[in-house]
Symmetry: C2
Subunit: 330 residues, 2 copies
DNA sequence: TTGTAGGCGTTATCAC
DNA sequence: GTGATAACGCCTACAA
C-alpha cells in the first residue's frame, strides 16, 4: 500500500507537505506541489478512506434509504443521485430494504458506524417519519423524496400528487367516462392518500359519481393491480375508466382487462402514475402521469451537497412538475 | 460520540478489555464481559468503522459492480446479495454504472481507497475482464455473475446460456414453427454469443432454416426489441416465431407485433429470456427462460463470505439451473 | 514554505 | 484476566 509517507520520501519532503499538496491547500510551493502530484500519480497513490475519515470526522458518504430496490420506480432516482455523487466525489451507501431496516438498526449504523455526512430518504411511507426526528436532533442533513414536509427545517422533493391525480381523473372525465374506478395503493403511504383525494375531488368537481365502492386497494405491485381490476370487473361491471395509483398496478390491470376479453381503451380506459420506462411498451401504451424521477434523484444530491458545502441552508422544499403523458390506454 | 474509552471509564476497566469484550475475544471474565456489554447498550455505543478499518485493514465491505442498475435484470440479484450481506454483517458498496467506470477509476477506489474485502462483478460484458487481472494480482477475492471462466482461480456463477437458448428455440420448433428469427443482444456480451449459438444449434439439429438474415441485433433494451421486431416484420414477413435474447427486448417485440396488427402467439410466437417480474403481466404473458437471479445474488455473497472466512478456496464454478417458463406468448 | 508532533478510535502485542 | 503501549494512515495546529 502506497502512503503519503512513501511519497514524502520519494519527493524529499515531509508527509504533511504531501497531504497539503494533494488536498490543494495553501502553503505549498507550486513546483513542489506539482512534483508531489506527479509522484503520487506515478506511484498509483490513492488515499486511505478510513484514515482520512478517522481524522476529519467526515466520511464523504451519503446514505440512501428506500423500501425496496426491486421496485422499478427507484432505479432512475438512483441513477440521478449517482450522476451527481460521482461528480462531487461522494460515495453512496444504500439501504435497499425495509426488511433489513426492521431487523438491524440501519439508520444508527449509517450515522454512527459509517458516519455518513448526509442522507436521502425516498418514499412516503409513514415508517419513514421515525427517522427524521433522530436526524434532526443529530443535526445530520437529509432530504426526503416523495414527501412534502411542513417542518421548515427539513428538505424535501415532491410532486403535487393530489393535483396530478386530479388531472389524470379529469382527463378520463373529459373523455366522457361516467363511472371511473380508482386502484389505490397502501394507505400507509402519504402519496396514496393524496392521489385518492385528487381522484375524488375531480369526480366531485365534475359532478361524476363518487363512491367508496369505486375505490380498490393494492400495494403498488403488478399482481395487486391485476386482482383489483378483476374485482372491479365483477363488482362494478359498468365502469369504463380506471385511474391506477401507479404504473406497476396499471400493468396488472391491463392484463386483467385483456384476459376478461375487453379492449383498452374502447371498453375500459386506463390511466397510470409514474411513467416507468416500460409504460411506453404496454399494450396499448399506457397513458400516465410522469414523475421526473431522474431529476428527483439529481436534485436530492444537489441539495445535500450544497448544504454540506455550506452553500445552502436546511429547509429547502422543492415541488417538481409532473406531466400527463397521453398514449393509447385512455 | 460514545467510544470504548467512555465505556471503559464507566465500567472501571481499560479500553482494551472493552474492545475484547465487545468483540467476544478470549481473555475476559464472563461477568465483566456482560457488564461491559450492558453498558455499551445502555450508552448506545456503535463502533467507529473508520477506526476499526484502519487498524484491522479489513473494511467489512464488498464492492458490487454492474453496468446499469436501471436494468430490471439486476434488482433481484441485488436483493439476494443484500439478504446474505445483512446477515453476515458485510456492507455492500455499489458501482451502478459503466459511465462512472469510464471516468473515474471505480475499481481502484473500491480496492485502495475503500479497501473492500471482496467484489462481485455482474455482467458478461467484455469490459469486465479488465478487472479480473487486477483483482487476481492483488489477491482480492471476487465472484463473477453471468460468466463461466476457464481460469481455475476465479469464482463464477452462471447458467448454461447456450443450452437455455437451445431449449427455447427447440420449444418453438416443436410448436411447428418453420421460420424462427432471433433478436440478439450486443455482441460485446458473452451471453449474447452463447444464446445466439444455442439458437443456431437448435435450428441446425432440427433441420430448420438457419440464416444470418434471421438474426437481428439490439442492446437489450425495450426499444431495441421494438425496432428489431419491426425490421423482422418487414424483412422476414413469413416468420412465425421469434426467440428474443432477453425479456426487455421481448416486451418491445410484443409491442411492435401488436401495432402491426398481428396476434401473439397465433401469428407470431415469442419466447424471451430472464423471466423478469413483469413478464407474467405482458399481453399475452411471456413464455421465457427463467434465470434464478435472486439465487445468483445470494450465492455470490455466500461464496465470497466463505472465502473471506477461510471456509472455501477460490475457483468455485457454479452453474445454476435455468427453466423454461411456458406462458401464452408461445 | 516546510517540518514536527499529536491525535482521530480501534485493535494487537506484550507485560503484569 | 487485565492494562499499558504502540500502531493503522492521515490531517492540522504550531513551530521553525
Amino acid at each position: 500500500m502506497v502512503t503519503i509517507k512513501d511519497i514524502a520520501r520519494r519527493a524529499g519532503v515531509s508527509p504533511s507537505v504531501v497531504s497539503r499538496a494533494l488536498n490543494n491547500k495553501y502553503g505549498v510551493k507550486e513546483s513542489t506541489k506539482q512534483l508531489i502530484k506527479s509522484i503520487a500519480r506515478e506511484m498509483n497513490y490513492y488515499p486511505n478512506a478510513a484514515a482520512r475519515r478517522l481524522v476529519t470526522r467526515k466520511s464523504g458518504m451519503i446514505g440512501v434509504m428506500m423500501a425496496d430496490i426491486s421496485e422499478p420506480f427507484y432505479t432512475q432516482i438512483i441513477k440521478g443521485m449517482e450522476y451527481v455523487a460521482s461528480r462531487t466525489g461522494y460515495t453512496l451507501l444504500f439501504s435497499n430494504s425495509y426488511d433489513n431496516l426492521e431487523k438491524t438498526n440501519v439508520l444508527q449504523k449509517m450515522i454512527v458506524t459509517e458516519n455518513v455526512d448526509g442522507l436521502v430518504i425516498v418514499g412516503s411511507n409513514r415508517q419513514d417519519t421515525r427517522f427524521t426526528g433522530i436526524l434532526l436532533e443529530k443535526q445530520i442533513p437529509f432530504v426526503l423524496i416523495e414527501r412534502n414536509s411542513k417542518n421548515d427545517k427539513v428538505n424535501c422533493i415532491w410532486i403535487d400528487n393530489k393535483k396530478a391525480a386530479y388531472h389524470a381523473t379529469k382527463f378520463l372525465i373529459e373523455k366522457g367516462h361516467k363511472k371511473i374506478a380508482h386502484i389505490a395503493g397502501n394507505l400507509q403511504n402519504q402519496v396514496t392518500v393524496e392521489r385518492l383525494a385528487g381522484y375524488k375531488q375531480a369526480l366531485k368537481d365534475a359532478g361524476v359519481t363518487e363512491s367508496n365502492r369505486l375505490v380498490f386497494y393494492g400495494n403498488y405491485l403488478c399482481e395487486d393491480g391485476y386482482h383489483a381490476m378483476q374485482e372491479i370487473l365483477s363488482k362494478q361491471p359498468d365502469c369504463t375508466g380506471v385511474f391506477v395509483a401507479n404504473d406497476s398496478m396499471a400493468y396488472g390491470a391491463l392484463q386483467a382487462i385483456h384476459e376478461a376479453g375487453f379492449v383498452v381503451p374502447k371498453d375500459i380506459a386506463v390511466v397510470g402514475f409514474d411513467d416507468l420506462e416500460f409504460s411506453a411498451f404496454t399494450n396499448p401504451p399506457l397513458t400516465t402521469i410522469r414523475q421526473p424521477r431522474y431529476e428527483m434523484g439529481k436534485k436530492s444530491m444537489d441539495i445535500l451537497t450544497k448544504i454540506l458545502h455550506g452553500e445552502a441552508k436546511n429547509g429547502i422544499n422543492l415541488c417538481l412538475p409532473f406531466e400527463l403523458v397521453v398514449r393509447n390506454s385512455a
